[in-house]
């Protein structure tokens, strides 16, 4: 039995015996079809976490860049991971994306335009799912490169993103360590791109998982690079350089998530063979080692302060004060 079918079967059982009874009781059976998709997202999410754990944990034990006296600071990242990969976040994202995509498509159709899919527009894509996926992946990764680079460029945005950089014990769990508001901005960012190119949310789940795996691996506390393939995929060494103390803030490098080609093209790549300590020297303690709620609250406070400074620099609010 292929992995895809195995996951569908597990999601099917989950749907039939856990989700459908709830939908039936709550009079929400209209969501039956989508409920199966929600279950699939959960199953793929759990599998992705397990695979990442199974691969990265031994590697981190074998060739760590740093050895820590304890892993307390990592625990909160584990929470972020489950929240983002298995829990509420992907499901809310999926439902919201579905609703907005439906609304915008309806609006276009009412005005006489039926939005095409990318594979119907670009010759040679239709019927070649792997090529189609690669095109989608490159577009999304390029969009993510610019989102990430801009998040380092604006003071208010970096105030949120600093939470991700504050971790001094960076591990494979750190990929999803983000401020909720930063997640919301990312969500809308990809939302717009997704609407423009017509992303099929569940068409390539295994390949999407592979991409997320690369992102997790790139955060791992591993002394490893991809050697001659270093330019092809973001390695732990390449991304660690981005998380290095001296790369925090506005003048960073290595912004790409999966394909370093964007850093090469836009001249922000740094392939130096160094394994730097991670963190942001200016981050307050609550952002580094606080609880989930403390990190979120501190991030919000920093964001608000930075926003005030940005407004002041633009002259907004001076007359009132």
């Amino acid at each position: 039995m292929g992995l895809d079918r195995l996951f569908s079967n597990i999601a099917g059982y989950m749907d039939q015996y856990l989700v459908l009874p709830v939908l039936f009781r709550l009079h929400w059976m209209a969501w039956d079809d989508l409920a199966f998709d929600w279950c699939l997202i959960c199953v793929y999410g759990i599998f992705a976490v397990l695979v990442t754990y199974a691969v990265c944990l031994p590697l981190e034990a074998w060739r760590p860049v740093e050895r820590w006296p304890d892993n307390k600071a990592v625990l909160v990242d584990v929470f972020y991971t489950f929240l983002n990969r298995v829990g509420v976040t992907p499901i809310v994202t999926f439902v919201l994306f579905y609703q907005v995509q439906t609304w915008s498509t309806g609006l276009l159709v009412e005005h006489g335009f039926i939005p095409p899919t990318l594979d119907s527009l670009v010759p040679g894509l239709f019927g070649h799912p792997l090529v189609t996926f690669l095109v989608y992946a490159l577009i999304l990764d390029c969009a993510d490169y610019w989102r990430h680079r801009l998040s380092h460029s604006f003071r208010w945005w970096y105030a949120l993103h600093a939470l991700h950089h504050a971790q001094t014990q960076m591990s494979f769990w750190s990929d999803d360590r983000n401020h909720l508001l930063d997640d919301v901005i990312s969500f809308f960012w990809f939302f717009t791109i997704g609407l423009l190119i017509g992303i099929p949310p569940l068409q390539f789940p295994l390949l999407l998982m592979a991409m997320k795996f690369i992102e997790s691996l790139s955060h791992a506390n591993i002394r490893a690079s991809f050697g001659p393939l270093e330019w092809l995929f973001v390695s732990p060494r390449f991304h660690r350089f981005h998380h290095g103390l001296r790369a925090a803030g506005r003048h960073s490098c290595n912004y790409a998530s999966v394909f370093p080609v964007w850093d090469i093209i836009f001249r922000t790549a740094d392939f130096r063979d160094e394994y730097l300590p991670t963190g942001d020297a200016r981050a307050p303690a609550a952002l580094v080692s606080g609880s989930y709620l403390a990190q979120q609250a501190t991030g919000l406070k920093l964001f608000w302060q930075a926003l005030g400074k940005s407004w002041a620099s633009l002259g907004i609010g001076r007359a009132a004060s």
Partner: protein, 285 residues
């Protein structure tokens, strides 16, 4: 000897769902709702013949007089009426949320469309292109079938289907088949009604007498049963949405085997149906 293996796979944009035959039976239209397209195949060989861009086709059907092609756009809340010959959009209705399944009166005057998220069954007059009535039938109505002068509509948030008077729109009967009754079909050869029940809990097919609606047999088949087809030997081919397979049920013994086919099999067309005289629809098999 049939191999019961997948012999070929053709690509689609997103997720194919229901089908209909063109009036000349030379083309099989398959909906790809989120791909905003209809894929066209040779109904005998399965060879692809092309595709046409159409907004959100989820379920579709030609009127019995072939004058119109009606398309339920479930995501977009439209019921679109196209000219049967040119496929030019003639009329767009917005009768409620999530138009799901549809059927017609044999004289082609009226259509009956279930609104999955408005809990209504809606009827349109296709001569005047107006809405005739909308009746609340129960939670999450789905499969629709014109049957012996009445309209039957499955209630997925309930435990069976309702019988509706097509003139007044009044519910005349409620029939219990099982939790999550999704779609309803008539075996035209044996004159047996089948209802696919999605659950929760036990899922499968219910066989009923077409006149009394008495349950003849319950078949328990897990995996989210959806559309069905019947082969010349009388076996029932059932799409199992959540098991990525098609089950082949021997209705006499109750045993079934399954063929893995890929993600979310939704509608099923058996080319042996082309031997059937008269109008062929997904609900009359």
């Amino acid at each position: 000897m049939a191999s019961r293996q997948v012999v070929g796979t053709e690509p689609a944009y997103r997720e194919p769902s229901h089908w209909c035959l063109t009036p000349d039976r030379r083309q099989l239209f398959i909906c790809d709702a989120s791909g905003n397209a209809i894929f066209i195949f040779d109904p005998i060989t399965g060879a692809p013949l092309g595709r046409k861009r159409i907004a959100d086709p989820y379920q579709l059907g030609y009127t019995p007089d072939n004058k119109y092609l009606m398309v339920n756009a479930l995501r977009l809340d439209f019921v679109d009426v196209y000219d049967g010959a040119t496929l030019r959009l003639v009329k767009r209705f917005k009768p409620g949320r999530w138009p799901s399944h549809l059927d017609f009166s044999p004289d082609s005057r009226w259509s009956f469309n279930s609104m999955q998220n408005s809990n209504t069954l809606v009827s349109f007059d296709l001569a005047s292109m107006t809405q005739r009535w909308a009746v609340t039938v129960g939670e999450t109505p789905a499969g629709v079938l014109w049957h012996r002068g009445k309209v039957l509509c499955c209630i997925m948030g309930g435990r069976g289907f309702v019988e509706v008077d097509p003139v007044s729109g009044q519910i005349t009967r409620r029939v219990v088949t099982g939790d999550g009754a999704h779609n309803i079909f008539l075996d035209t050869k044996k004159q047996i009604l089948y209802v696919s029940n999605r659950g929760p809990g036990k899922t499968g097919l219910t066989a009923l007498d077409p006149v009394s609606f008495q349950i003849l047999r319950q078949y328990e088949i897990p995996g989210g049963p959806d559309d069905i087809g019947i082969d010349p030997e009388g076996n029932i081919w059932i799409c199992l949405r959540y098991a990525e397979s098609v089950a082949i049920l021997d209705p006499v013994s109750g045993h079934y085997s399954s063929i893995p086919v890929g993600r979310s099999p939704h509608g099923i067309f058996l080319n042996t149906m082309l031997r059937q005289p008269g109008r062929i629809t997904a609900e009359r098999i």
